[in-house]
């Protein structure tokens, strides 16, 4: 299959304008005749559903939570980037584009990233107009802060709750369209199958999580905005319900999965405290603006932090990367923390942590200023650990946070399955091999507010055939979904779903985590196959399908993670280079920096499903750089 990203021709800065002009329009009166399904109500899904509703389309909006407002975008803390250059510090659309491509270690599409940078400014305007309570300067203008991977201050924020405020903005726009009758909400629904008719996406099959009923919904196009797959690792900063099921089910129906091995490990999370742990909590990267990362110089130094004198501390990020210091990109910061702990210099009870110290910032700016900037984060840290970060340094350690891989999409955000659009974290498009901080919110909202509302029209014009749920394809998909549920309930084994999930997560963390090598990946792959086999023989799922059954919900998700894990490992093996978050130990410079192989791997790796446990077919989309020159990333 030839993978064509359908990137418009012409100069970089004119591509999006030109493409928008060339896309065919739909007469306003005809828009209401088109029904569109949107799965997921995070930033991408809610903003898409609201904007498409405003345009007059007839929208069906689905989410697994009890309310669309609870999607996991709400937990994003630090901020959202935009190239406003309000600080007069040399920012521009081109600089945001450049930083994002570089931060992604040259594994993203130039045209997509440039469009993202262009749109970033409209997003801020839109969110302000909705009433987003962004931080302000005394004069009333919008405030900014710095984030990792950039030397300009371009991040807009609302305390440590930026994701919450942006999501509530998108949610309220969505609810306004519900009131207007253009959006119908389907909360507590989980997508179990994508329905294809004549090769086009025409609907979905969902399970009503309250009644257990399997329902079919038909539409002219389907948008997936269902987030990432970080929970494959069991422990991650994702919400408990985040899962790969919607995208995996679409993959099984023919949608290509791109770059599944690109998983971002966030450097500043609260360390694991015990085997009961159900999730990991992120401490916003913005803390690295004022906090200094250090470990003791000597391995095995178990003194409490206040007893370690200044000259026996190693501020290793400042030492190794004097230019960017504590603000190096996430992948660099995470690996450096792992290195420090591998050298026996980790701190805290598990020795799998490093310090993030605010002592100097408090001395410089006063406790009140620090409280204003990070008050809620400090409070959260204290609630979880029982320690006061105003007095003693925070302990942090990397954790799985975000997945850059996702379903393959073209410039219009449409997958290789006609009529299936994929937005936000669920697609692969903009972050390459590593996402910079404060860019996820930007991408989710760009996709939903400002890209798909245009591009989906271009598809709908050319596809006028209607499908309803009486089509046999829906019955077949319902049967498939119900059959799978019956199989899960019938196993009646001796291990719980969480027990399997934890085991899978450990295998992935050890074999396909912060650092990978061929032997470890091979071993992990064999182990995953064993665990998957045991799962279908020995899992226990209580209750029945016809009721609220949380064990059953989790079982379905874990079953899909088990299948997906094989693809993730396969991709990590195939990509025989280091780039961004994908660190293959075989490929590093003398001082431990990742070594890319642009000659052989400057491409998107998109996989076609051939069956569980069967090697997928690889399709390559070459990445062409016309506006930036590929270089060894350096933050020194």
């Amino acid at each position: 299959m030839a993978l064509d990203g359908r990137i418009p021709g012409g100069p970089l800065e004119q591509k999006w304008d030109k493409h928008r002009f060339e896309l065919k329009l739909i007469n306003p009166a005809n828009k209401r005749k088109h029904r569109i399904i949107v799965v997921g109500t995070g930033l991408a899904g809610a903003s898409a559903a609201a904007s498409l509703g405003e345009l007059g389309y007839n929208i069906l909006s689905f989410c697994i939570q009890d309310s669309p407002r609870r999607a996991h975008s709400i937990a994003a803390q630090g901020g959202i980037n935009a190239a406003k250059n309000y600080q007069n510090d040399g920012d521009s659309v081109f600089r945001l584009f450049y930083d994002t491509v570089k931060g992604g270690d040259y594994r993203s599409r130039e045209a997509n990233v440039y469009r993202l940078a262009q749109i970033s400014n409209n997003i801020i305007d839109q969110c302000v107009a909705q009433g987003g309570p962004f931080a302000r300067e005394y004069g009333g203008s919008l405030a900014n802060r710095s984030f990792g991977g950039a030397q300009v201050s371009r991040t807009f924020y609302a305390r440590g709750q930026t994701g919450q405020q942006l999501l509530l903005g998108a949610y309220s726009a969505l609810m306004r369209q519900v009131e207007a009758g253009r959006v119908t909400l389907f909360p507590r629904r989980e997508m179990l199958e994508l329905v294809l008719v004549d090769g086009c996406a025409r609907g979905i099959v969902v399970r009503n999580l309250v009644s257990g009923q399997i329902e079919s919904h038909a539409a002219d196009a389907v948008i997936l905005a269902t987030g990432g797959y970080g929970n494959a690792f069991f422990l991650s900063t994702n919400a408990k319900a985040c899962n790969v099921t919607a995208t995996w089910r679409a993959h099984r129906k023919g949608a290509l999965f791109a770059n599944p091995c690109f998983t971002q490990i966030h450097p500043t999370c609260i360390p694991v405290s015990g085997s009961h742990q159900s999730k990991l909590t992120l401490m916003s990267e913005s803390l690295r603006n004022d906090g200094r990362v250090w470990v003791p110089q000597k391995p095995g130094d178990r003194r409490p932090p206040e007893h370690i004198p200044e000259d026996e501390r190693d501020y290793y990020l400042e030492r190794r990367y004097p230019t960017f210091g504590n603000l190096v990109p996430r992948d660099v910061a995470s690996r450096s923390a792992k290195d420090a702990c591998d050298e026996g210099r980790g701190v805290g009870p598990t020795h799998l942590a490093v310090y993030l110290d605010f002592r100097d910032a408090i001395a410089r700016d006063g406790e009140e200023v620090i409280r204003q900037r990070y008050g809620n984060l400090f409070q959260m840290y204290e609630e979880i650990t029982g320690e006061d970060p105003y007095k003693t340094p925070m302990r942090i350690y990397p954790a799985v946070h975000y997945t850059m891989g996702g379903l393959w999409v073209d410039y219009d955000l449409m997958s290789n399955v006609p009529g299936l659009f994929v937005l936000g974290e669920a697609n692969f498009s903009d972050h390459g091999a590593n996402r910079l901080g404060a860019s996820a919110l930007m991408q989710g909202l760009a996709d939903g507010y400002f890209i798909v509302p245009y591009t989906i029209g271009g598809y709908l014009v050319s596809s006028q055939k209607k499908t309803e749920t009486d089509h046999p394809a829906f019955k077949a998909a319902e049967k498939e979904a119900a059959g799978r549920i019956d199989r899960l309930l019938a196993v009646n084994g001796r291990r719980t779903v969480d027990d399997f999930h934890r085991q899978l997560g450990m295998l992935l963390w050890d074999g396909c985590g912060m650092a990978r090598n061929a032997a470890g990946l091979q071993k992990a792959r064999e182990k995953v196959a064993e665990v998957r086999e045991e799962f279908w023989r020995n899992v226990t799922v209580t209750g029945s399908c016809g009721e609220l059954n949380q064990a059953l919900e989790r079982a379905g998700r874990v079953a899909d993670f088990m299948e997906f894990a094989d693809l993730m490992i396969h991709d990590a093996l195939m990509r025989d280079e280091s780039c961004g978050a994908h660190f293959r130990e075989e490929h590093q410079t003398e001082d431990g920096e990742p070594l890319r192989d642009d000659e052989n791997f400057c491409h998107v790796a998109a996989y076609e499903f051939n069956g569980v446990g069967v090697s997928p077919t690889l399709h390559k989309e070459p990445l062409v750089y016309e506006n930036v020159s590929l270089s060894q990333r350096s933050y020194k």
Binding site: S67, E383, F450, Q550
Partner: protein
């Protein structure tokens, strides 16, 4: 304490919306003080599942205090003994070995029980739907800095906007009133310049929707503020009342 705590739990079990429901006693053992309250319930549920019993259903998602999905009445208090915390951010170090803990769902006519500790809070969505927004279509916004907002106003708006929609305010109120929830949104949007054009309409529409959903009136008990995980102040309700009065007069 290496073996952890042993606790007696009295948990509300109710098969579905039509079932009467009852309190059932469970033992929780080997509980570490570093566990969150929900992780403690996870441990209990693992044990139930292995015995082939139906695990206790409860809502939770982000488990970091921001999504608003979780919410249990613990020993009679919404979100339990922690001040300014959600249930997921309550840690077992708040309890001691041998404690008996009662665990119940939010109780309010407008929040019917779905199963066990899971309730239906879609009434909050319908209140928002009635007018909890600024009507601005995508693409029609002026430059962000064209609207200057003093730092003070932005901070005050943020204080109110911090509401996570968990419903603890309703659960703690003897009238099951949603006034704190409504007031937080009315205040957030009502003091910002962007919110002025719909200021009057918004307060009337949201209050009317709240009443239609069966939430009660406010009788100034301040229980809502006491349990609010985001410590949203009842002073917003005073603001709401003034707004309501002005809006009715100008209607």
């Amino acid at each position: 304490m290496s073996e952890g705590m042993g606790l007696t739990l009295r948990v509300w079990r109710q098969k579905n919306a039509r079932d009467r429901g009852k309190l059932v006693t469970y033992r929780a053992t080997y509980i570490s003080p570093d566990m969150s309250f929900l992780e403690m319930l996870d441990v209990v549920n693992e044990g139930l599942a292995l015995k082939g019993e139906d695990p206790i259903a409860f809502d939770s998602d982000c488990r970091e205090g921001i999504c608003g999905a979780c919410g249990l009445v613990i020993n009679g208090v919404a979100h339990g003994p922690g001040k300014g915390t959600t249930t997921c951010q309550l840690y077992m170090r708040s309890f001691k070995d041998g404690d008996t803990i009662s665990i119940e769902p939010w109780r309010a006519a407008a929040f019917p029980v779905v199963k066990d500790l899971v309730v239906d809070r879609s009434a909050f969505d319908r209140i928002t739907q009635a007018g909890g927004y600024i009507s601005v279509n995508t693409g029609s916004a002026p430059d962000g800095n064209a609207i200057l907002i003093s730092q003070e106003t932005a901070e005050e708006a943020m204080d109110a906007a911090a509401c996570i929609g968990c419903g603890a305010c309703v659960a703690s109120c003897k009238n099951a009133s949603a006034m704190l929830f409504v007031a937080a949104k009315v205040k957030h949007l009502g003091i910002l310049p962007q919110g002025q054009p719909e200021r009057r309409r918004r307060v009337l529409a949201m209050l009317e929707a709240a009443q239609a959903e069966g939430f009660g009136d406010c009788s100034n008990e301040y229980e809502c503020e006491a349990v609010c995980p985001k410590q949203i102040s009842v002073s917003h309700i005073a603001f709401l009342n003034r707004e309501y009065l002005k809006s009715t007069l100008k209607k």
